[in-house]
C-alpha cells in the first residue's frame, strides 16, 4: 500500500491556514515522509490528479463556481478536513451576510459588473459532508499536524473542545476579565490557540469560534451590565472571524 495522498485546496481565504502547513518547517519533512503531497498549488506546481485520501480545505464558499468545485473535491476525496475560520464558519468575509453585497462591490470596484459573487460567504459544511473541522484564524500548526497524524493513523484527533479559559488556567495566566475588567470571549470560545491574547493582557477575540454549550447570552449580559461594555462593541466582538457561527451570529445581532 502506498502512502496516503494529501491534497490542499483553497477557497475564499487569505492563505494563512495552508501556510501553517509550510510553516511546520521541522516537521514538514516528516509530513512529506508520511504522506504523498499530491496536490498543493501553494507549495508545488506539480499538481497530481485525484483521487486523494485526505483533502485539507481552506476558505469559504463565495461564488457559484466554488459551490460546484467543492462538490467535485468531495467526490475525489476520502476524508475532507476543513481548516480555519473561513472554511468552518465563513470567515471575516461572512460579514457580507449581514449586509448588501452589491453595495460593497459598488463601493470597492471600479467596474462592479466584473464581479460575480454570491450574496453570502458560507462554511464548507453547508455544502458538503465534512469529516473534521479544524478551527482557528489562523489554525494552530501543531493542531494541524495532530489532525493529519490522526487521520493517517485512523484515530480520533486530540483536539479538545473546551474553552480557552482552560488553556489560560493551565499556563497560569491571570483572568483578564476578572482582574482587569476586559471583555474576553475566552469562556465561550473553542480552545486551540494556547490562550495567546490573554497572555498579552487582552481579551480573547474568539478566533476559534464558539465552543460547545457557548452561553454567549450570559457572558454578553455580564460584559454590558457589569463591565460597562457598549452594545456596539459587544456586537463587534461576536461579529468577527466567526460571525456566521451560531451563537456568535445571533448574539451579535442582539447587540446591534
Amino acid at each position: 500500500m502506498g502512502k496516503p495522498r494529501l491534497a490542499v485546496w483553497k477557497f475564499a481565504s487569505c492563505d494563512g491556514c495552508q501556510l501553517s502547513l509550510l510553516d511546520c518547517e521541522d516537521e514538514l519533512l516528516a509530513v512529506a515522509g508520511a504522506v504523498e503531497i499530491a496536490y498543493f498549488p501553494e507549495a508545488s506546481s506539480d499538481m497530481q490528479p485525484g483521487p486523494y485520501d485526505v483533502s485539507l480545505v481552506e476558505g469559504s464558499i463565495t461564488t457559484a463556481h466554488d459551490a460546484e468545485r467543492i462538490r467535485e473535491i468531495r467526490r475525489q476525496s476520502g476524508a475532507v478536513i476543513t481548516i480555519g475560520a473561513c472554511a468552518t464558519a465563513g470567515g471575516i468575509q461572512a460579514l457580507r451576510n449581514f449586509a448588501d453585497v452589491e453595495e460593497f462591490t459598488r463601493a470597492v470596484y471600479a467596474t462592479p459588473s466584473f464581479i460575480s459573487t454570491l450574496d453570502t460567504s458560507t462554511p464548507i459544511a453547508d455544502h458538503i459532508r465534512v469529516d473534521f473541522e479544524l478551527r482557528g484564524c489562523p489554525i494552530n500548526k501543531h493542531q494541524l499536524l495532530e489532525t493529519i497524524n490522526a487521520f493517517i493513523n485512523r484515530r480520533r484527533p486530540n483536539i479538545p473542545a473546551h474553552s480557552v479559559c482552560v488553556e489560560c488556567k493551565r499556563r497560569g495566566t491571570v483572568c483578564v476579565t476578572v482582574a482587569r475588567g476586559a471583555a474576553c470571549l475566552g469562556p465561550v470560545t473553542h480552545a486551540g490557540c494556547g490562550a495567546l491574547c490573554p497572555s498579552y493582557d487582552r481579551g480573547c477575540f474568539g478566533c476559534y469560534g464558539p465552543k460547545e454549550l457557548a452561553n454567549t447570552e450570559s457572558l454578553a449580559a455580564w460584559a454590558r451590565d457589569k463591565l460597562g461594555v457598549a452594545d456596539k462593541d459587544i456586537q463587534r466582538l461576536h461579529h468577527n472571524f466567526n460571525a456566521w457561527s451560531e451563537p456568535f451570529r445571533s448574539e451579535g445581532d442582539r447587540h446591534g
Binding site: 516528516a30 473542545a161 479559559c165 454549550l213 455580564w222
Partner: protein, 376 residues
C-alpha cells in the same frame, strides 16, 4: 522582672525576613510564594522579601478581583489570589511515559519522579485545609500518585495567619480558618503594632530547627495580643455557607429547577474548577508522531465542565451545563463526604471571584435551602 514573654512565639523583625528565605534555601528549598504579576498576586519564585507583594492588597467580589495599594507596608496584607498551591504538586501538564519502537518491540521510558524541594511561603489556613484534602485524594487511598507524594513529602510550609478577610471568604463557615491549626512547619502572623514584624511559631521538628537557626527573640505579650486581635479581625466574615444538613440538601435536590436557572448564567468554562484548590480532575491524552514510531502519554488538568471529560462510548454523560454544574456542586459539598470523608470546599472563595460571570456557590446553596423552605 522583664516584660511577660510567650515561650513558644518569637519575633522576626521585617528587616530579617530575608534571613528566613536564606535559611530555607541553604537547606535545599526553592522558595515559592506570593508575588505581583499580571495585575494579581500570584504564586511564583521568591528570591527575597522584595519579591513579596509588600504594600498590596486585593479586593474581591463575585466575578471581580483587583489589587490595590495599602496604606501600610504589610507583606501579607492580601487574601488569596488566582493561583493555588496545587500547581506545584499536581502540575497542570505532565508527561507520564513514552514509547519508542525498537525493531519489533516497544521500549517504554518512564520519566524519573522529579522531586523539587519547595518551601511554600505565605500559605493560608484554608489552603492548608486544601492541601490536606488533596493529600487524601492523591496519597490516601489504594493508588498513590507518586509525583505528588514525593514532592509533597518535602514541602516546607511557611503559613501565615489571616488578619483580614475578603468579601468572598467563608473559611469560618467551613471551619478551616482564618487561624492555622496544624499542617504547617512555621506559622507567621504579621503585625503592624507595636512594630511591624512577624510573630513566628514552629509547628514541626523541621520548623523548630529552622527557627532555632534564626536565633530570634521571644515574643512579648503585646506582640501575641496584636496577633490574636488580627486573627479575630479576620474572623468577622460577611459571607456564610450554612453547612448543617448541606450534604443531604444537595442530595435531595438533584432534580431542582434551580440547576436550569444556574445554567442560564453558567458558561461551562471550567474556571471555578481550575481555580479551586481541591479540584483534582485530570485527563490523559495519548499522542503519536507521524511515523508511528514514537508515542507519549500526557496528563493534563481537566474539569467536569469540559465536554470530553464525561465522554464514553456513545457520547458525553453530561451534555448540559445544568448537569455539569450539578455534578460539580453536588460533588464539592455532598458526595465528597462519601468519597473522602470531608467537604470538598475550604471556603477560600476562589470559585466566586474567578467565575467570569460571578456565580456564587454560597448564594446558590442558600437559594436551594430557601426554595425547600417555601415548598414545605
Amino acid at each position: 522582672m522583664g516584660p511577660k514573654r510567650d515561650a513558644s512565639a518569637f519575633i522576626l523583625p521585617v528587616a530579617r525576613l530575608d534571613e528566613l528565605f536564606a535559611a530555607l534555601r541553604s537547606r535545599g528549598y526553592a522558595c515559592v510564594g506570593p508575588t505581583v504579576r499580571d495585575a494579581a498576586i500570584v504564586y511564583g519564585d521568591i528570591e527575597h522579601s522584595a519579591d513579596l507583594p509588600r504594600g498590596w492588597t486585593d479586593d474581591h467580589a463575585p466575578g471581580s478581583y483587583r489589587i490595590k495599594r495599602r496604606s501600610d507596608n504589610a507583606y501579607f496584607g492580601y487574601v488569596v489570589g488566582p493561583h493555588a498551591w496545587k500547581k506545584y504538586l499536581f502540575t497542570p501538564e505532565r508527561r507520564l511515559w513514552q514509547l519508542q519502537r525498537a525493531g519489533a518491540k516497544w521500549e517504554r521510558t518512564d520519566p524519573p519522579v522529579e522531586v523539587q524541594k519547595y518551601a511554600f511561603i505565605g500559605v493560608r489556613a484554608c489552603e492548608i485545609a486544601a492541601l490536606q484534602i488533596q493529600d487524601r485524594i492523591f496519597t490516601g487511598g489504594q493508588f498513590v500518585e507518586p509525583n505528588y507524594a514525593a514532592t509533597r513529602r518535602e514541602v516546607f510550609v511557611v503559613s501565615v495567619n489571616c488578619t483580614q478577610s475578603a468579601s468572598t471568604c467563608f473559611c469560618v463557615s467551613m471551619d478551616t480558618g482564618p487561624e492555622v491549626r496544624g499542617g504547617s512547619d512555621l506559622t507567621l502572623t504579621e503585625i503592624l503594632q507595636p512594630e511591624h514584624c512577624f510573630v513566628v511559631r514552629a509547628d514541626s521538628e523541621r520548623g523548630d530547627e529552622v527557627l532555632a537557626s534564626l536565633d530570634l527573640d521571644c515574643a512579648r505579650s503585646e506582640h501575641s495580643h496584636a496577633a490574636a486581635v488580627g486573627v479575630d479581625h479576620a474572623r468577622r466574615q460577611s459571607r456564610r455557607l450554612e453547612t448543617a444538613g448541606l450534604k443531604d440538601l444537595l442530595r435531595r435536590n438533584s432534580e431542582s429547577p434551580q440547576w436550569q436557572d444556574i445554567a442560564s448564567r453558567c458558561l461551562s468554562c471550567a474556571n471555578c474548577t481550575l481555580a479551586c484548590p481541591t479540584c483534582f480532575c485530570s485527563s490523559v491524552e495519548d499522542v503519536s508522531d507521524l511515523s508511528g514510531d514514537h508515542a507519549e502519554r500526557w496528563q493534563r488538568w481537566d474539569s467536569c465542565f469540559n465536554p470530553d471529560f464525561s465522554y464514553m462510548h456513545g457520547g458525553e454523560v453530561r451534555r448540559t451545563t445544568a448537569a455539569r454544574y450539578r455534578q460539580w456542586m453536588t460533588h464539592k459539598l455532598s458526595t465528597w463526604f462519601d468519597q473522602f470523608g470531608s467537604s470538598g470546599c475550604v471556603g477560600c472563595g476562589r470559585c466566586i471571584s474567578w467565575c467570569p460571570v460571578g456565580i456564587d456557590i454560597t448564594e446558590e446553596a442558600r437559594k436551594m435551602r430557601e426554595a425547600e423552605g417555601v415548598q414545605s
